[in-house]
Symmetry: D2
Subunit: 381 residues, 4 copies
Amino acid sequence: MPKKIKLGILGGGGDSLIGIVHRIAAFMNDNYEIVGGVFNPDKNVSIEFAKHIDIPTNRIYATVEELVAAENELPEEERMQVVSILTPNFLHFPMAKTLLENGFNVICEKPMTTSYEEAKEIAALQEKGGAVFALTHTYTGYPMVRQMREMIRSGAIGDIHKVDVQYYQGWINPLIHDEASRKATWRLDPEKSGISCCVGDIGVHAFNLVEYTTGLEIKEVLSDFNFLYDDNVMDVDANILVRLDKHVKGIVRSSQIATAEENNIVLSIYGKEGGLKWEQENPNYLYLLKEGQPMQVLKPGHGYNSQFSLEGTKVPPGHPEGLFDAMANIYLGVAKAVRGETYHDGAFPTVTDGLRGMNFIEATVESNAKGNVWVALDSQQ
Amino acid sequence: MPKKIKLGILGGGGDSLIGIVHRIAAFMNDNYEIVGGVFNPDKNVSIEFAKHIDIPTNRIYATVEELVAAENELPEEERMQVVSILTPNFLHFPMAKTLLENGFNVICEKPMTTSYEEAKEIAALQEKGGAVFALTHTYTGYPMVRQMREMIRSGAIGDIHKVDVQYYQGWINPLIHDEASRKATWRLDPEKSGISCCVGDIGVHAFNLVEYTTGLEIKEVLSDFNFLYDDNVMDVDANILVRLDKHVKGIVRSSQIATAEENNIVLSIYGKEGGLKWEQENPNYLYLLKEGQPMQVLKPGHGYNSQFSLEGTKVPPGHPEGLFDAMANIYLGVAKAVRGETYHDGAFPTVTDGLRGMNFIEATVESNAKGNVWVALDSQQ
Amino acid sequence: MPKKIKLGILGGGGDSLIGIVHRIAAFMNDNYEIVGGVFNPDKNVSIEFAKHIDIPTNRIYATVEELVAAENELPEEERMQVVSILTPNFLHFPMAKTLLENGFNVICEKPMTTSYEEAKEIAALQEKGGAVFALTHTYTGYPMVRQMREMIRSGAIGDIHKVDVQYYQGWINPLIHDEASRKATWRLDPEKSGISCCVGDIGVHAFNLVEYTTGLEIKEVLSDFNFLYDDNVMDVDANILVRLDKHVKGIVRSSQIATAEENNIVLSIYGKEGGLKWEQENPNYLYLLKEGQPMQVLKPGHGYNSQFSLEGTKVPPGHPEGLFDAMANIYLGVAKAVRGETYHDGAFPTVTDGLRGMNFIEATVESNAKGNVWVALDSQQ
Amino acid sequence: MPKKIKLGILGGGGDSLIGIVHRIAAFMNDNYEIVGGVFNPDKNVSIEFAKHIDIPTNRIYATVEELVAAENELPEEERMQVVSILTPNFLHFPMAKTLLENGFNVICEKPMTTSYEEAKEIAALQEKGGAVFALTHTYTGYPMVRQMREMIRSGAIGDIHKVDVQYYQGWINPLIHDEASRKATWRLDPEKSGISCCVGDIGVHAFNLVEYTTGLEIKEVLSDFNFLYDDNVMDVDANILVRLDKHVKGIVRSSQIATAEENNIVLSIYGKEGGLKWEQENPNYLYLLKEGQPMQVLKPGHGYNSQFSLEGTKVPPGHPEGLFDAMANIYLGVAKAVRGETYHDGAFPTVTDGLRGMNFIEATVESNAKGNVWVALDSQQ
C-alpha cells in the first residue's frame, strides 16, 4: 500500500463549505493526509482550526510564502506534495504562482485566475516546472460525466454536430430587484468578483463540460448578457452562441435569475450516430439516444461502463453517490499523477482547462460589450 | 343543445395524419359535422374518401373556388360555417384568401402563408371581414400550456425576466449526411419548403409558445443557423437570441439534428416571483418553482387550475390526454367563436399569431444571412 | 375501403364521461357509425341526446328488448352489428344476456356482471352463439401494455418468477372519514356496488393487467381488506397475495385511500432474463431491465415495437396519445373481429377476462372473510 | 470546538466496502478520530491496514476481548469512546455483548444479532449499562427520510391509514437458477446467513423505514416467501402483509429476484390529510401529496425542512448528497449522544430498532412456515 500524500491547504477554514468538500474528497480514497497549511489569514485562527480537524499545528503557517520557505527546508519525504488553494478568487493567482515557482503540485479551486493574462502566466509556469496542476471543475468528477467523455471518444455517438449546455441557478433573483441589496452583493461588485458574474462563476463550468466531454475546442463565441438593471454592470444571465468547428455549433446557457432553480446543469451532445444527455441534479444517470432504438439509461458501477468511469465509483449500483464523490475522484486522479502512476488524461481538469476558461470568460464579455459579435478564442491544441 | 357546426375540409384525405388529427379533434366535443370539402385534387378520390369517412358526397368539390361558389348558393343555415385548410403549405395562402374574401370562417394549419407579405394580406382580409380565423399551433391546446398562460397573467411568477424554449427533433439526421438523400428531402428544398426548414417548421412553434404563454412580444432576434453541409441552403438547426423588452431576454432553440430526439419541446419561463416549466412529451405536468418553496407539480382537471384550463380537460385527473385532445381544444374554441358565445382570448391562435410567426421566420433568416445581427420584428400591439 | 360498422349504444347519454370515451374511441379509426340505441331510460331524453350527437332518431329505443326486436326485423346489412353497454353495473348482465341470446356482438363496460355465476352464464351464451364479446379493460389498449405482452411472449424477460401490480387511488379518502358521507357514497353501498368496492372497481383491472401481459393465470389468492370503519362493509383497500404457479408469486395491491393518488397503476413483471415496468399515468413509456445492461425506455410508434403495438399508435413518436386512444384500440380490435378479419388475440379483452375477473373478485372477498386464507380460482385454460 | 471522539473499529479492513463507508462517514463531520481496533482476525493484517489508513498501530488488537481489556487500562480521556462493529453478521452479537458489558458505546452494522433471543440480551445489556448503541439502518440517515419522519409527526398527512414499502433487488437472479451456484452462494446458506435471506438482509430495512418514519409499531405480519427452487431453503422474495393497528394496514415487499433492480426502495405512507413518498435511488426528493393540491417536491437544504433534516445536509440545494452522507448523519447523531449533547430521538436507530427487526424477521419466517398465518410481534412501547 502506497504512503499517503502530504497535503497542505490554503483557505477553507472555519465553516467554509469548500473546505469541507476538499477535506472529505481528500479523505475518501485514503490517499492523502493533511499536514498543514494556511487556513486563515490570522495564524492563531489557523492553529485553532488545525486542532479542530485534529492535525498537528507545527506546519500551520501565516502565509503561503512562509509555507513554501519552511516546507522546502524539510526533507523531501516529509515535505508537502500537494497544496490546495481554496482562498477567495483574487488570491488564486498569486498563490498558485508562488507554489509553482517553488515546485509544489497544486490543486486550485476555480477560477484559476482573475484574468486570461494571469492564466497564461500560470500555464507557462506549470509547463516550465512540470508540476501537477489540477483545477477543480468538480462536475468532471462524476462517473457518468466521465462515461460520457469515454463514450464520445470511442465513437458511441459518431461525429458531433450539436452541443447544448445549460447551467441555471436562481439565487441572484431575490437580491437583484432591490437596489440596496444588489449593491451589497459581492458577486455583483466587479471589484470583488472580476469582470463577469454569471459566466465567470457558472457559465465557465458549462463551457468546460462541453470541452471536457467532447474533446472539441470552442473556437468562437457570440454572447448576449442580461444585467436586468441599468445600474448593474455584472452579468446575471448569459446566452452564448458557440462554434466549435465550421459545422459544429451550439449554445451555452447560464443564468443566476432562473428563479428557484438550484444547480440545474443539463448537458446534451448530439452526433451523427446518437445523443448523450446528463443532468447534475440526478448525476447517476446518463441517457443515450440512438435513432430507432429505445433510449438507454446508464448508471454508475456497471460493467458496461468504461474503466475510467468505474474507477470513480465506490459503491454497488443503486447506492447513490454525489458531489463529494465527484470531487474525490479529482483528488484520486491527482494522487495517481503525483505518485507517477499511470492516470487517465481526464482524471482531473488541468491548467489548460483554466487557461481556456479564462479565455472564454473574457471573450464572452468582449462579445457582449461590442454588441453581440463573434469573438474568437485562442486554440490550445 | 346547440346545433352542430357545418365543417368543410380542404386536404387531409387518404392516410393523411393531419386529416385524422383534425377529424378526431372536430368530433371530440360533439360540436361539428363534416359536410364536405376538397379532400384531394382529384375529385373522384375526394368522393371515395367521403364515402370512407361516411359523409354525403354531394358537397365534395373539385376546388376551393367551386366550394365557395356552391356553398354560398346554399341557404345560410345549411352553408359550411368553418373550413379547415390541411393542404400542402403553399396552398394555405390562396385558399385562406379565397375563403376569407367570401366570408367563411377558417381553421388553417401552420404555416399560415409562405411569406410575411402574404400573412399581412390574410390579416388584413380577416380584419376587414371579421371572420373567425384559427391557426393550429396545436400545442397551445394542451390544458397545462393554457394553465401556464393563465398563471402568468394572474401574476403567479411576477414580472418575467427570462424565457427559454426548446424544440428538438432528430429526424433530419439520418437524411442529411448522405448527399443524395439530402437532395431528395422536400423539407430541404426551398422550392417546396420555403425559406426556412427548421425555424419554419418547428422553431416557429417554439416562438409561438413563448408569446402565447407570456403575453409578451419578442421584439428582436439574432439567429445562428446550422446547415451542416455547404451544398445545403436550408437551416436544420437554429439558436436564436431573443429580446422581449430591454430587460427581458431569452433564447429560442430548435433543431432537427438533435439526433434521436422525437418531439422534445421544453418551455421555461422565469419571473421575479417564480418559474414555470412544461414539456410536450409529458404534457400533463406543469412545474411551478417558487423560491424557498417545494416545487409544485400541477396536473389537469384539478380545481386549482383556471377555468380556461379546466375546459380543455375531458377526463378525471390521472387519466392522460394527448395530442388529439390539444387539437380538440382549439376546435372547441373555434366552435364558441363561431356561435358567438363568449370565449377565452387564448382559446385558439389567431391570424395575429400567424402574422407574427411569419415575421419571426423571415427575421431569423435575415439575421443569419447578415452575419448574426439583431433584426427587429414589427409590433402587433 | 370497408363499410362502417353499425354501432348501437346502451347508456352513456348526457354528460356521461364513459359515453364520451366510447363515442370518441369508436370514431377514432373511422370504423363505426352510431346508428341508435338506448341512451337513457327515458326515451324522450334519448331522442334529444341523439339529436345532440347528430344521429338519426328512428333507431332510438325505449329498452334493450325493443332494440333487439326492432333491429332483428331490419335487413342484415342495416342491422346494428355491435352494441355497447355503458349502463350502471347491475344492468350489464341482463343487457349482455339479451344481446347475446339474440346474436348481437357486444362491447361491455367492466364489470361484466355482478357475480361469478352471472359471468359464467354470459360466457356460456357467448361460447354457444359465437358472437364477438369485448370487455373494456381499457388499459390493455395502451400500445406499451401491448408491447409488454408481446415482449413477454417472445421471451424478452424469460420465464416469469415475480409479478407486482399496483392500482392506487385516493378518492374515497375525503368521503370515508365522515359517517354521513360514507353512508351516502354509492360505491360503499353493497346494494348498489356489489360485494366489493376497491377490488371490484380497480383491483380487478390490476389483476387483468397481470394476466393480460404475462399470459399466466393467477391460481390462488390470499387477501387482506381494509374497511377503515367498523360500520363500513365495503373494502377500500386490498393487499392480495397471489400465486400463479408453484414458483411464481406476486402481489396485487389496490387502494382507494392512497390519499391524493389519482389513477396510479404500476405494473412490474420480473423473469429470469429481465424485467418490464409500465405506469398508467405516463403510458407512453415501457421500461426494460436487463441484468448488467442499461435500462431501456421503449416508446410507441418505433419500429422496434411489435406489429400489434404499432397498430395501436396513430401519430409519430413524441406525440403523446392517452386514454381515448387506448379505448380506440379496443374498438379497432372489435372492428376487425366483427368483419372477420385476422386480429391479434390480445386485440380486446374477452368474455374469459370477464369470467376470470368476477372469479377473482369473489375469491378475494371470500379469502378476506375467512380470515385471510388461500382461495383457489378456477382455471379457464 | 469539541475534541474528537476516539473511535475503534472491528472489521472493515482491506477493500471492505462497509469499512470505507464507515470511515468516510466518521470523517465527514470532523467528529471522530480512528484510534485503533481489530480490522482483521490476523493481527498482522490489521496492523498493515492501520498503516495504510494512516493511524497509529499501538492500539491494534488481536481480538475484541484484548481491545476491551487494554482500552479499559487507559485513562478515560484516551480510551476509545465508540467502537463500530463491521464484522460478519454472526460476530455482531458476541462483540456487541462484550463491548456493552464493558461500558463501551457501540455502532453496530445490521443485523444486530442472528436471533431475537440474542437481540433481547443486547437490549437488556444496553438498558442496564446505558451506553449509546446505534444500529446502522443507513437509509434513516437521508435528510429526506428524516424530513418525512418529522412531517408525519407534525401532522402533515394526518392520521396514517396505509403504508406500503418496497425493497427490490435483482442480484440473486443470476445465481439462483443454476443449482451449483445457488448452493455456493453464502446468502443462501442458512449456516452462514441465518434463518432468512431476503427478509433478513433487506426486508428488515423496509420494515425499519416504516416504523422509523411513522412512529407506529407493526403489530402482526402474514408473510409469503418465495424460494424458487425446492432445494433452496432461504427466502429470495417475500410479500408481507402487515397490520399496525386495527385500521392501519399495509404491505412490506422485498425481493432479491426483481431482476435487474439495483437498490430500489420505495416508501409510501398515506394518511387522512395526505401522502408522502420517497425513493432511495433518488434520495434527495420527497413527494408530498395533498388532496386537490399540486404535488410538492421537497429537497434537502431548504428552510422549509425541519431542523433535524437540515442538520443532515452539508451542501446548498441542488448539490446531490448520497449514501455516505446518510451514514455520516448517523455518526453525527452518535457523536452528539456520546458527548452528552441534546440530540434528536431519530438521530440514529437504536437497540430497540434492532430488537424489533429481529422480532420481525423471526415472525415472518414463522408466518410463512406455518402456512401464511398472522403472527404477532411483541410491542416495545
